[in-house]
């Protein structure tokens, strides 16, 4: 009797609860309730939320959109990697980024303070969209076109790292976003 590993006293269900425990349950419980409300509230008071807007698509259909988007707004080839086009879409427009083994395409150029509807999807396996050094991270699936409206608040060169393991070339999978004034 009287251990955690022996049968409890007969009156265990009616024994009064000790003060230390009651106080802790009240404090911890209130905090839990607060966290729940805060997470909902951040959708109104915060500026960083996932829209969770997503559409079913196919890799072929999505690749086509990326091609059209690239053809329409390409302004130059990239200096670091001349095989990659740099695409400068007008503010407010739809931007299509494609992940495939092992590259994020195309490179885009944004203007600070302007909003863009950024579409993210994969053409083959799951990939990661990790914008650095901002440190904003999403997963890209094949077959799902996810939209996040982004408004850059800083200028500079931002790397996109794939942070969802995608096979042997995973660590070579990069992309880039430029943000200018």
């Amino acid at each position: 009797m009287g251990y955690s590993f022996t049968a409890p006293a007969k009156n265990w269900a009616t024994e009064p609860i000790e003060r230390t425990e009651i106080l802790w349950i009240v404090i911890a419980g209130s905090w839990c309730l607060f966290m729940f409300c805060w997470m909902i509230a951040w959708h109104w008071i915060g500026n960083q939320n996932m829209a969770n807007e997503a559409y079913k698509t196919t890799p072929e259909a999505y690749a086509k959109k990326v091609e059209e988007f690239t053809a329409k707004y390409t302004v130059r080839q990239d200096k670091s990697d001349p095989s990659l086009p740099v695409v400068a879409p007008p503010p407010g427009s739809d931007v299509y980024l494609a992940a495939s083994r092992w590259q994020w395409r195309p490179i885009v150029e944004f203007q600070k303070g302007k909003s863009y509807r950024v579409h993210i999807s994969s053409l083959d396996w799951d990939h990661g969209f990790s914008l650095q050094p901002e440190n904003i991270n999403f997963t890209a699936y094949p077959g799902y076109d996810a939209v996040v409206t982004m408004t850059p608040n800083k200028t500079g060169t931002f790397g996109i790292v794939c942070n969802e393991y995608c096979g042997i070339g995973h660590h070579t999978m990069l992309g880039r976003i430029y943000v200018k004034e």
Binding site: W24, M39, E134, M150, I168
Partner: protein
Amino acid sequence: MAITTAQSPFRTDPLTGLRIDLTAQALVKVNAVLAVVFLLVGGTAGLLVALTRWPAVHLLPADLFYMALTAHGIVALMVWIIFFEIAVLYFVASTLLSCRLAAPKLAWTQVVLMVVGAAMTFVAILQGDSSVMMTSYVPMNAAPHFYLGLILFAVGALIGCGVFWGTLVIAAEEKTYEGTLPLTVYGCVIATIIAVFTIASGAIILIPTFLWSLGLIKSIDPMMYRVIWWAFGHSSQQINVTAHITIWYTVAGLAFGAKPMSEKVSRTAFLLYICFLQFGSVHHLLSDPGLSSAWKIFNTSYMMYLAVLASLIHGLTVPGSIEVAQRRSGLNNGLFEWLRKCPWGNPVFSSTILSIIIFGFIGGVTGVVMSVEQVNMIIHNTIYVPGHFHGTVAGGTTLAFMGLTYYLIPVLFQRQVIMKPLAALQPWLFGIGTSIFAIAIMGAGTLGVPRRHWDVTFAGQALGFEWPGMAQMMLAIGEIGGVIAVLGGALFCVIVVGSILIGEPVPANAKNIVAPPADAGGHKEIGMGGFEAPGTFILAMVLFVTLVLYYFVNFKYLATLWTLT
């Protein structure tokens, strides 16, 4: 009568007074030894991974790195832990209830299936075409026997749960115990109920994936895969949490004669796990497309954080019960005399208390914060994530299991633990190493460094960039902590295997190693200001303040980012 006695498969253990069924003892031993062997395998893979992620060392080439990482995840997380859990289940059901183990043949089937399954998956990984990580997200594909091995392993584990329940039924029918089930057994019942849900989810997703790898099913939706895989992957972590918390309670009883502060509170908290844990699967999908915010918020909060509340309760009541027991035995001065005078050099105790601290402060605080829908965007798939879960599964679960092992070696194997001074050091080595590892790589993750990544220097990449110096330093410190943890883990394996093989037999006149019930201490007036466990309350408030501050620090960081809507 004489005949039944002669055939009696029981012995009475001199160290604990427990009546031990010899068949159960054999099965507990086999499962526990297999667990430790696999821990050694998993730890070796972990060492290779850590030495590769340390940029200055960068040991393995990319293909072997991803292979070792897949092996480490599966062997350390699934194989070591589940073998040990089965050993605990058999021990608890039979020995604590003085009952024979139900269906020994089935139990041996469990052993065989789990060994064959684990070996099959392990071989598939070593063959090189199954470096898909333990999550094996489709449409990335592994060899068919990679999935088949996991399925066999899971069937074995399910049989283990069945044997546990069967034993409970026998114990109830043969009235081998009186009154309500002890809390330890109750905790194990909760764990097995979660296990059945877990294994069912695993079957629902892994069987089709196996068929798909054979070409019998055309495709599997990537979103559906992730949702169901995590119903399996997340719930299996909740089994671990339930199991190691049960062990905390048990060790508090064994080492201090403690009993739960309130059976009612502790049992209700366990019940909350059953009701709400499964919702937590969505933690892993917070930054995925296609799922609504309402659904994410409801689930990620475990329906308003009720399961988090349960863990916070256990986090107070276990140390609280130790405090009450210590005070009842006369250590009633000031706030912390009970804590100072704990047996810090006894590995059973030090493993347990370190497990509680690391699980709470490292695994728990970070887990609650990173599972906030919005905060997840700054953490998802960075190396912060492995930092968090080494706080839970390595520092929390693994360390708790180590502590119990030290207790069980003399009881089950009737051998004394060898190298006592090193055994006293071992939990500290593993606990501190794991903590440094976890905290430092969380630092690197906060600065964006990705998980599961072979080369964060991006050598030779046109679009490569350099991480802040701080991130690189954190990675190096973290992996050094990892090496210390591996030393601690290896020492554990050596001590366990060594004790079993060459440990001195327990002397016949050895004294009982179960602490007398603290109630018998006779000190009735304990505590301060009407609180029986004021010291624990202060410690709990330290955890609380840490959690609150860390929560808002993360929102502050989040608020500086690009606007995302």
